[in-house]
Symmetry: C2
Subunit: 261 residues, 2 copies
């Protein structure tokens, strides 16, 4: 048995109390937190303690400090990303990128940073099973919900596969999104694999995603395979950790095997 | 198009250089980083800059500061957690908890903090579809690889289901682990669902997992279902983010549907 007791410092208790007030709706989404002076007086603690407590909330993404408007309660709800469901949804005509925002009645928007031919970076080339520097189509974009950035996503396709698809070379990839285009080109997606890491944002991500340098991001690296295990798409996603819950579901393989016997 | 250029501060460049030296093996796993004074002289920058660079590596989990032994390079490799494969492995007699460590030839160890009856916390009760406070079996443990903590895992089972299983009430749950015991009790696992969040560690996690208060953790909440969508197990995992890559794979449902037609 290990001793797992740890003292609970004052600022952590205050942070917990402010968080439960936010959850309860005392400080609604998009509203300002009371000033630190006000909170210090109300709670009978020092301003330094309140300041440390607010730092905890900032680091956790519960509040954001906006220049000129003080400390603001996060306005986006936690977004659930259901890996399987989002691709299945393309049969209803929706690209995967905006599925989650629509489900929550948030207003989705996609800004395209780059669409065109580029030389495959080492990691992409390896995953696509082509030589480094071979031409690929890159589609770099930033997704928003209610004008708040929710993810950066860079997709890569082997150039030979997609060079004749006018739709993949323009921002709107058409009904059902890029996966539907790949199917039309003779490469239907058959299997997906995602690797998830967590890390601190790079300076670029920190700026584009409007998060603190201390707020962790999810990095999801997806490979889409067609028949014969052929990789047809890489997607490299970077998402503010506090905004997302990632959901995966699967049937038990051991019990499947037994059923088949 | 958005302007995504950002200046790259000196300390970030130094952090990147130190990281590539670690990757190259100049500073091998478990060894000490040269002193900050030494690095400042070698690289021709101020000690303050080196100190900020080392802070970046600490936050990313590349190095740990150990009292009395200076700044030490992380000794565990990145561990891949393949969700589907780890449960399938139980047919070979291995419980899921130690699969990844064994695969990397690391020495696994499990410390049990608590095994016994408890009142179901609200979140657990809801997921198990029982009333809050109803009795559940809890199995709380900390997993290690080469004596370094890699995860905390708390599993919960409806008491009525497991009360007659002597093995589930003791540390070693027997060949194939707890899921094999549930199958023997008439509740084979049929489907798994995992929700992944990222957040900063609580004081307890920070202490047990031996990580910095600023290092994000993965929180994986798994529900295991038997036939008739009956929830039979909850597992609440907390894992240092820098140690793990989470892997999920699945077949495309839209293409499955089309195949079935």
């Amino acid at each position: 048995m290990t001793d797992v007791e740890a003292p609970r410092p004052k600022y952590a208790q205050i942070a917990e109390m402010l968080r439960s007030r936010i959850k309860r709706g005392d400080y609604p989404p998009g509203s300002n937190l009371p000033s630190e002076d006000h909170l210090a007086r109300e709670l009978g603690v020092s301003r330094v303690t309140v300041n440390r407590a607010v730092s905890v909330l900032r680091a956790a993404g519960d509040v954001t400090v906006k220049r000129g408007s003080g400390t603001v309660v996060r306005s986006l709800p936690k977004i659930v990303r259901d890996a399987e469901a989002r691709y299945a949804a393309r049969d209803e005509g929706t690209g995967a990128g905006e599925v989650e925002a629509r489900k929550l009645n948030l207003r989705p928007r996609t800004d395209y940073l780059e669409i065109g031919q580029t030389a495959a970076p080492a990691e992409v080339a390896q995953a696509l099973d082509i030589a480094e520097g071979q031409p690929v189509l890159v589609r770099r974009r930033v997704l928003y919900a209610n004008d708040e950035p929710t993810q950066m996503a860079d997709s890569y396709y082997p150039w030979e596969l997609v060079k004749d698809s006018a739709e993949l070379l323009q921002p709107e990839a058409g009904v059902g999104g890029s996966l539907t285009r790949l199917a039309e080109l003779g490469y239907p997606p058959v299997r997906f694999a995602e690797d998830i890491d967590v890390r601190l944002p790079t300076p670029e991500e920190h700026q584009v995603l409007q998060i603190e340098a201390t707020q962790p991001v999810f990095r999801i690296w997806r490979v889409t395979y067609s028949h014969d295990r052929r990789p047809i798409e890489i997607c490299d996603h970077v998402m503010p950790g506090h905004l997302w819950t990632l959901h995966y579901g699967w049937r038990d393989e051991a019990s499947n095997t037994r059923r088949d016997q």
